[in-house]
């Protein structure tokens, strides 16, 4: 049975209170963020159905939103997701080399997860860190001014965290 903790349910209630009465659907995006964080980093169908029940909306209203926004994962991802920006300004500063290096280092293609379930490599479009390129998102934070050495260090850091 999928269910939020009491603490998270209180958070959901608080989020709903931000919007006008009867407009609880407005809390859908923030509640989906909560659900993804809580239930393994991706949104399985039962999770989305649970979110629909919390907001008293139809499941389809959740599916159509979850599939529209790029931050919601509709299939399982690794424990750590490298989301490397590849848009113009990052490309000018060598993001292609960084992506190639990560592919080679982790022996995966873009969109794949390592066999041990640790790392997923994803290319993303502009994350608004153009002055600090090349960059990637890792969890809730940005890693900027990437070099091969920094990528090595980040991989080590993640491995250490997992142990």
């Amino acid at each position: 049975m999928i269910t939020f903790s009491q603490e998270k349910l209180a958070k959901v209630a608080e989020l709903i209170s931000h919007y006008p009465q009867g407009r609880q659907k407005s809390a859908l995006l923030p509640v989906l963020h909560l659900a993804q964080d809580e239930f393994g980093g991706w949104l399985d169908t039962p999770v989305m159905d649970y979110v629909a029940s919390l907001l008293n909306i139809e499941p389809i209203e959740v599916y159509e939103v979850a599939s529209f926004y790029s931050m919601y994962n509709l299939k399982p991802v690794g424990k750590f997701m490298f989301e490397v920006c590849q848009t113009g300004p990052c490309m000018l500063n060598g993001s292609d080399n960084i992506i190639d290096y990560i592919k080679q280092k982790l022996n995966i293609k873009v969109g794949e997860t390592t066999a041990d379930g640790m790392f997923t490599l994803k290319t993303v479009e502009c994350l608004g860190a153009c002055g600090y390129a090349p960059m990637m998102q890792l969890g809730k934070n940005y890693r900027e001014h990437l070099t091969k050495e920094k990528v090595d260090a980040i991989i080590e850091e993640c491995r250490a965290k997992a142990n």
Binding site: R23, A27, F68, T87, G88, L92, N93, C130, N141
Partner: protein, 454 residues
């Protein structure tokens, strides 16, 4: 050094906290505003000449004056912090380093518009910035600047942060409103405009982060005084986020009286191009605006020095000019490939098209594929005209401006760098190994030397 109105205090130790922000003169504009009539605040913003800093440059005071005021229906102010235009990262900086400035500007603006519940729609990826804002809102609330009966004025205002989830299109104001309502970010057909029917069918004003922050200095120094800074209809200061091939990428607050040449080469700003390379091209206002080759960037077609303001950047229209846009300033050095860069932008717009209108949904993907072919040595000469044709058929034929935004960079790249596209097609193998370098247009142009700064 130009005058700073927004970032003057951004580096004061601890300015992120309420205590330091208040000590440095924060929230004075709210004290002043609450003693005024809301209509007078709108007048003050009109006088300031402030133009929307998100990209469109629409006069803010005028936008505010459009808001409908039907009896008994709540109104809302929504801050557009969905900053996603490639090359643009100024709002993030402002929110991250001096969050109370935005909140202060939003309280004044909420009072002026009569919004008792205002929202900051922030792009989902800026998760830590959302936390900074939430903390700042909590501090403002504890100190009586938000909540019921603010500073004894009788005005109530709540403020909430709403995180998006990764969609450039939500920077378009009606898509943003849809997203705020918990839906896909599909732009709405206008009219009705948000000022009449916006969030939850209520009158709504959507303004960019920098626009709302600028309301603070406007209140503090007065609209007339603010209008004296800058030149012509480019009043006040503008945040420019500079990136690409420059020595000092980052955020610069300019007063719109400096030249593009000074901005790129002066040590006070971008500090020139790394490794002694030449300037090839630049997109001065975020990826949607036309790219300009070096010669047209530094001087207008009339031979005047091009300046960093709304009018001068757009001088010559799209034939020989560009736009101020969002202030996302992307510099390309002589070794950059315009074809590849344009391809990444086409990929971006394809990825971000919401899919609602066929010309954009189909056209953006088509342009990406054609550009990819040219870039990887599989292009045909007819592809250039095909690209031109596709972008012409997207522009102006979609519900929202994303279609135009996707079309313009392609059009400008072909307009100014057609020889580079042709070279790619004629020399597919060579193009894989080396870059085209400076374009022919640049031959007769001298490479500018950095101006002497005092």
């Amino acid at each position: 050094m130009g005058r700073k109105l927004l970032l003057e205090k951004a580096h004061v130790e601890g300015i992120r906290t309420y205590e330091v922000y208040r000590r440095e003169g924060g929230y004075r504009s709210v004290e002043k505003a609450l003693k005024m009539a809301p209509a007078d605040i709108v007048e003050e913003v009109k006088k300031s000449g402030l133009r929307g800093r998100g990209g469109a440059g629409f006069p803010t005071g005028m936008k505010w004056s459009f808001i409908a005021k039907p009896e008994g229906i709540p109104r809302h102010l929504v801050c557009n912090a969905d900053e996603s235009e490639p090359g643009t990262f100024k709002d993030r900086y402002l929110m991250e380093f001096i969050p109370h400035l935005l909140i202060e500007g939003m309280i004044v603006s909420s009072f002026a518009l009569g919004s008792n519940a205002s929202y900051i729609y922030i792009r989902g990826e800026y998760a830590w910035v959302a936390e900074i804002l939430e903390n700042a809102i909590a501090e403002a609330r504890q100190n009586g600047w938000l909540g019921k009966n603010i500073q004894g004025s009788g005005f109530d205002c709540e403020m909430y942060v709403h995180r998006g989830a990764g969609a450039y299109i939500c920077g378009e104001e009606t898509a943003l409103i849809e997203s705020l309502e918990g839906k896909r970010g599909n732009p709405r057909i206008k009219p009705p405009f948000p000022a009449i029917k916006g969030a939850w069918e209520r009158p709504t004003v959507v303004n960019n982060v920098e626009t709302l922050a600028a309301v603070v200095p406007i209140m503090n120094i007065g609209g007339e005084e603010y209008a004296k800074i800058g030149v012509g209809k480019s009043t006040g200061t503008k945040l420019i986020s500079a990136c690409g091939n420059i020595n000092k990428p980052g955020i610069y607050e300019i007063d719109m009286t400096i030249s593009v040449e000074e901005f790129i080469f002066s040590d006070e700003y971008c500090g020139g191009i790394p490794n002694g390379k030449k300037l090839k091209a630049c997109i001065p206002g975020g990826s949607s605006v036309p790219i300009l080759p070096q010669n047209l960037l530094l001087t207008t077609a009339k031979g005047e020095k091009r300046m960093m303001n709304y009018e001068s950047l757009s001088d010559g229209g799209f034939a020989t000019g560009s736009m101020m846009g969002s202030g996302g300033f992307i510099v390309l050095d002589e070794d950059q490939c315009v074809v590849r860069h344009t391809m990444t932008l086409a990929r971006f717009y394809h990825h971000e098209s919401c899919g609602q209108c066929s010309p954009c949904r189909e056209g953006t993907g088509w342009m990406e594929r054609v550009l990819k072919n040219i870039e990887t040595g599989k292009g045909k000469m007819s592809d250039i005209d095909l690209l031109w044709d596709i972008q012409r058929k997207i522009e102006g034929n979609t519900i929202c401006p994303l279609g135009d935004a996707a079309a313009w960079p392609i059009a400008a790249a072909i307009r100014h760098f057609r020889d580079e596209f042709e070279w790619h097609i004629n020399n597919p193998e060579e193009a894989q190994r080396k870059n085209y370098g400076m374009a022919h247009y640049a031959d007769p142009i001298h490479v500018p030397t950095p101006p002497v700064t005092a």
